[in-house]
């Protein structure tokens, strides 16, 4: 673990970090004193491997929430930069402003040309203030809407990266029609005549995520989350106790594994052990491969059939029973 990562050790990662520190100490000692501690070091490294496997192969929903929100987790533009061979950003909704919390533009992988859109969190506190922590105003959704029209006119498939705590709850956002901006996108995306691949890379915060999250294929990083409400908000409502986040995270079925079972997402994209931030390039590559796999199939489908299939997919969403007293 490098120094920057050590500043962001999550609670459940502490035993691992502690063991890593001890191993490093032993290595330093061996070097300094010129003694052979290789047997001891090997023993501890084995233990570390085992501990890592135990921890990261059995993550609880709340632990995944923490990984999904990890400050070092790769953000949309970092991934865009690694996924696409070349790309450019476009700006503005032509109505009010250029929302920094949603980005978009062109990107190319091999011969495949795309329009991309995505929530953009900041890489630093300073950038996060500019990006509003990835919480978009209506103009962000309307910028995405404009880019989707462009994509449709030129027959370009869309990739949408989801990573937001939610749409911004603020006075101006409300006054400019936050709800309407999201709703307009849902209508548009449900009938858009080009392929849409959605990749949930971090936090999928409710309507704010969904506002650019309707697709033919919805992919989700292994430790990303997607939820109707934050675990904190849910805990406050259910148990009148904001600290009961572990129970809430479990109840909400917000993990990729749960959502795959519920038929809400189509595929889980694997992350490096310990989370996407441990190897950003590997993460980007996994996403790229998954996108290529999907686009090969989607680009063979006619626009009419594509829309019909997408409509049918969402038409079937929902779980209910047909007998009242079952």
């Amino acid at each position: 673990m490098d120094q920057q990562s050590q500043r962001y050790v999550l609670d459940f990662e502490r035993p691992i970090a502690e063991l890593e520190r001890k191993i490093q100490e032993l290595k330093n000692l061996a070097k300094r004193e010129g003694i052979d501690l290789s047997e001891e070091i090997q023993r501890m490294e084995n233990r570390l491997q085992k501990l890592e496997a135990e921890t990261f192969l059995n993550l609880t929903p709340w632990q995944r929430v923490q990984l999904a929100r990890h400050p070092l987790r790769p953000k949309t533009l970092s991934l865009v930069n690694m996924i696409f061979d070349e790309w450019m950003q476009l700006h503005g909704d032509r109505l009010y402003s250029d929302d920094q919390a949603i980005v978009g533009g062109f990107g190319r992988i091999n011969a495949y040309r795309f329009v991309f859109i995505g929530h953009q969190k900041g890489e630093s506190i300073k950038e996060n203030l500019k990006r509003n922590f990835g919480m978009a105003h209506p103009e962000g959704y309307r910028k995405a809407n404009r880019l989707m029209s462009l994509a449709e006119r030129f027959g370009l498939p869309i990739i949408s990266f989801i990573d937001t705590p939610g749409a911004y709850p603020g006075i101006e956002a409300e006054q400019r029609g936050q709800a309407e901006a999201i709703a307009a996108n849902l209508e548009k995306m449900s009938h858009l005549k080009v392929p849409i691949i959605v990749v949930i890379i971090g936090e999928g915060g409710s309507g704010g995520a969904l506002g650019i999250g309707v697709g033919d294929k919805v992919l989700m990083l292994e430790n990303a989350i997607y939820s109707v409400i934050s675990p904190e908000g849910c805990a406050a409502i259910l148990w009148k106790d904001q600290t009961k986040v572990e129970e809430a995270a479990a109840a909400l079925k917000l993990t990729a594994q749960d959502l795959l079972k519920l038929g809400i997402i189509d595929k889980i994209v694997p992350e490096p052990r310990g989370g996407a931030h441990r190897d950003i390039e590997k993460t980007a590559n996994n996403i790229k491969e998954a996108i290529l796999e999907e686009i090969k199939i989607l680009s063979e489908i006619s626009p009419e059939e594509l829309v019909a299939k997408r409509k049918e997919k969402y038409r079937k969403m929902g779980k209910f029973r047909s007998n009242k007293d079952e």
């Binding site: 749409a167 911004y168 709850p169 603020g170 006075i171 956002a173 409300e174 006054q175 400019r176 029609g177 936050q178 709800a179 309407e180 999201i182 709703a183 307009a184 849902l186 209508e187 548009k188 995306m189 449900s190 009938h191 409710s206 309507g207 969904l210 506002g211 309707v214 997607y226 939820s227 109707v228 409400i229 908000g233 849910c234 406050a236 409502i237 259910l238 109840a251 909400l252 079925k253 917000l254 959502l259 519920l262 809400i264 409509k311 969402y314 038409r315 969403m317 929902g318 779980k319 209910f320 029973r321 047909s322 007998n323 009242k324 079952e326």
Partner: protein, 277 residues
């Protein structure tokens, strides 16, 4: 979601305290006038003194909106269960049934309005805050599809402070897509959709079908928006402007066409239908 349910409970409790004897009188939550319940009911549950619009259930709403005895409910025969095994969901559903006499937070069907056939869906705030889970989303979609199929104008009257129903997780979010997709389909086929917004309509309802009517009518004083006022206050830590998220403010900001008092909603709908169809 919680904010609205809590407020709703508080209002109900406050009401109980001054009911002497029980169920005869209601104290206006806005102007504190003590109103004889029969008077309030005759006035379509609008305070005779200050004009405050009280909650009104889906069935009564249909009764005062459509031509007399013209409503035929569509029995979709679908009912909620607990797909996520969410703690306490069954109890909430039961409580909703007891409070409203409905089997879910929405009633759908067909009826006549000024002699013209319409497809209508009404969500009921009294049933789990009018929140949208799988059944509410499915029933609304069914009535939108009927409107498309039978070429009927569509009217959805929303009272949905709960937005997307927490207890069904992301399945509830998917209902936003399902209803929006059907609305888009209706519009593309030349159908007319009139959305009537009542107090309160927020969150996932507002961010899907409710805010996208060809024509949008709101009741006076209705709280309408995406995020709840409590969440906004916690986030920005400053006072809200006057009338923030109220129907009148949405009119000012171009988000609704008309703010119409409850007794005038029916004649307004008839006028619009007569003009367009």
């Amino acid at each position: 979601m919680g904010w609205f349910e809590r407020t709703y409970n508080r209002i109900k409790k406050g009401k109980k305290k001054i009911d002497v004897p029980d169920g005869l009188w209601t104290k206006c939550v806005n102007c504190s006038e003590i109103i004889y319940n029969k008077t309030l009911d005759d006035n379509l549950r609008v305070c005779p003194k200050c004009g405050y619009h009280f909650y009104i259930g889906a069935r009564r709403r249909i009764e005062i909106t459509l031509d007399k005895d013209s409503f035929v409910e569509y029995n979709s025969k679908i009912y909620s269960h607990n797909p996520l095994d969410f703690p306490g969901y069954e109890e909430k559903l039961k409580k909703g049934e007891q409070t409203t006499g409905l089997d879910e937070a929405v009633v759908i069907g067909e009826g006549k309005l000024g002699g013209k056939s319409v497809a209508i869906g009404v969500t009921d705030f009294g049933f789990m805050g009018g929140s949208m889970g799988s059944v509410v989303g499915e029933r609304l979609t069914i009535i939108i599809e009927r409107a498309i199929e039978k070429k009927l104008p569509l009217i959805i009257i929303s009272g949905s402070g709960g937005g997307a129903r927490m207890q069904e997780g992301v399945l509830s979010l998917m209902q936003m897509v399902k209803t929006s997709s059907a609305i888009a389909e209706l519009k593309s086929k030349g159908g007319l959709y009139i959305s009537v917004l009542t107090n309160p309509t927020m969150g996932g309802a507002m961010a899907s079908f409710a805010s996208r009517g060809d024509i949008i009518i709101a009741e006076p004083g209705a709280l309408l928006g995406f995020a709840g006022p409590r969440v906004i206050m916690q986030t920005i830590k400053q006072q809200m402007p006057k009338n923030f998220q109220k129907a009148e403010s949405l009119l000012e900001h171009g988000m609704v066409d008309l703010v119409v008092e409850r007794p005038n909603i029916r004649p307004t709908l008839i006028k619009i239908l007569n003009f367009l169809l």
